[in-house]
């Protein structure tokens, strides 16, 4: 077995995904900023699974570094999973463009920059899988988080186009749309228990769906139906709502 590359590796979802893939026999490249803070976590995986874990520094906003980052991987990965995400603050993003820009750059531009490079390699090799963690927030703009939601919507569209493009090359592209997940990012929010997934459940879903070759994964599954309803509320009514 060989390597899976996980970017945004410090997030709780990424950590759960890392453990899941290692458990199933994959070695890992974990990439993030200040990645050395993951040393204990890397050791955790190695003791649990006896897999190799390599830590690699990556700043997703430093676009020019991405090609070098990828070229430097001695053994190219079998697949890549992006857990890059930055929620930011909606209010702030409405008055402070720096905040808006950081949300857009992190959630969208950064991933596109890196995924383009990897997609070109996978296309040439005619194999590989690419998983982008987007969000149900990208399915419809809501006043409470539409800056973040719009960046995720852009990412969702990008992934769907990439899937279309790479179909012929047999490269599998999967879009993951988590609903509420109990993580550091959401720890101060009051989330409904029944709709909130643990990172481990999300990781398990991602692994299963990737093995099956799914295109779009909602996790928990209930969110597919919730979003179906939310997407279909007429704009005339939706704009007056507070959800």
């Amino acid at each position: 077995m060989s390597y899976v590359l996980i970017v945004g590796a410090k997030s709780d979802i990424a950590k759960a995904v890392s453990r899941e893939y290692a458990k199933h026999g994959y070695d890992l490249y974990l990439a993030a900023r200040n990645v050395n803070t993951l040393e204990d976590f890397a050791k955790d995986i190695t003791v649990r699974t006896q897999r190799t874990v390599k830590l690699i520094e990556l700043d997703i906003l430093d676009y020019t570094s991405h090609q070098i980052f990828y070229d430097n991987l001695e053994e190219k990965p079998l697949g890549v999973i992006s857990a890059i995400g930055y929620l930011g603050e909606q209010d702030k993003s409405q008055t402070d463009f720096d905040q808006a820009q950081k949300i857009m750059d992190t959630n969208y531009k950064g991933v596109v920059s890196l995924f383009n490079i990897i997609a070109n390699d996978f296309e040439k090799r005619r194999s590989g899988f690419m998983i982008g963690i987007s969000s149900v927030a990208g399915d419809r703009g809501r006043k409470s988080n539409y800056t973040y939601g719009s960046a995720k919507a852009a990412l969702t569209t990008y992934l769907s186009g990439l899937r279309n493009r790479l179909y012929d090359a047999q490269v599998h592209v999967m879009t993951v749309k988590p609903g509420f997940v109990a993580t550091k990012m959401t720890k101060d929010m009051d989330l409904p228990e029944k709709l909130t997934a643990q990172p481990e459940e999300v990781a398990d879903d991602i692994y299963q769906a990737q093995q099956k070759g799914a295109n779009v994964l909602y996790t928990k599954w209930l969110w597919r139906w919730i979003m179906l309803i939310i997407k279909n509320i007429p704009e005339l009514i939706f704009k007056k709502m507070s959800i």
């Binding site: 204990d40 976590f41 050791k43 003791v47």
Partner: protein, 432 residues
Amino acid sequence: MSLMSWGMHPKVKSTVLVFDKTQTLKKIIDEHDELIPYGNGRSYGDSALSTNIINVKPKDYFIAFNEKTGLLHVQAGVLLSEILESFVSRGWFLKVSPGTKLITIGGAIASDIHGKNHHIEGCFSECVKEFLITIADGRTLTCSKEATPELFKATCGGQGLTGVILEAKIYLKKINSQYIDQTTIRTENLRETFEAFEACKQKPYSVAWIDCLAKGEKLGKCLLMTGDFRSDGKLDYKKKKKRNIPFNFPSFALNNLSVRAFNWLYYRKIKEKISQQRVDIDTFFYPLDAIGHWNRIYGKSGLTQYQFILPKATSYEGLKEILSVISKSGKGSFLAVLKLHGKANDNYLSFPLEGYSLALDFKIERGIFDLLSKLDEIVVKYEGRIYLCKDVRVTKDVFEKGYPQVETFRRFRRENKMDEKFQSLQSKRVGI
């Protein structure tokens, strides 16, 4: 946040505190009192409940493993199930394991848990080489039986009242199969049950399932299960999908009749006097884990487990008396687990002593605590004791009579000002 343990009673308002570094933990301890560590909430009662709880479960890193000696170094929030997932296929198993694998290492040490092999291997503390603990003054210490014997003896079985365990080094044991050769012996009464236990003393694992509603002649009839690991080299241990009880059952679901029916069916399933089965680790050690949240069967008001132990000399008399009271009351449980224990260790509050223990689940309903108080009297009369990690109601007086080293424990807490910081609902009730 409203918090509870496995028995779902009581539910208490509690502030949940988490920490990343030891400095944060020190700060938490400095700034609060009435603190208690919380693992995976698999204790039944109120030993992990307090105004402020320190959630240790997120500390779940594996740190190192030595293939030669079987010494595993982990953080205290690691679950036993995670250890099994990683190590059974590599030929290792826990030296001591309780009837559920969904508990943390911290919880295992704090309750000094016992398994089906207590008569041979003793309590969990036997496999603990050392642990790292943050105590009341904010210091983080490495504790071992040799270097810091008092802290060790107070912490193992001390129900989180000495501080927060952060990491532990524990020995695993080698196995050559994930299958167990199980022998089931069916007995007709308590006398036969005792004889069967004594006859199987050499078997590494043993436990009996008692029909606690049987009366008269049949009082104490049981299925005794003994076993040992096979040596067939089959180690493929996979996580099974489990079924979940999604909501609390309405209270009528668990009446006397259904318990009777269950007992009867279970007992009848095994036809022969002695039979052999080959079962896997999960079936033998963790039958209840296959059904997630089975505690919800007891309904919203919850359940309690009554587990007591009697010294060998008084076990037969005492059990007979207790079983008669229970069968007369008509209040029974799905589970009445009888176990033979080996010698007690010197930890101040560890539960096991040489003799027999019985554990029964009771639905919390009117009159139940009166019944249990009646049982307490018998336990005291026969010089037995109650297991703290299952308890939610025992009185100070009854508790003290069972634990001769309680004064040593109290003194140790006072001297180290642990009593000013670490308290649970239980510790206040029983005065420890």
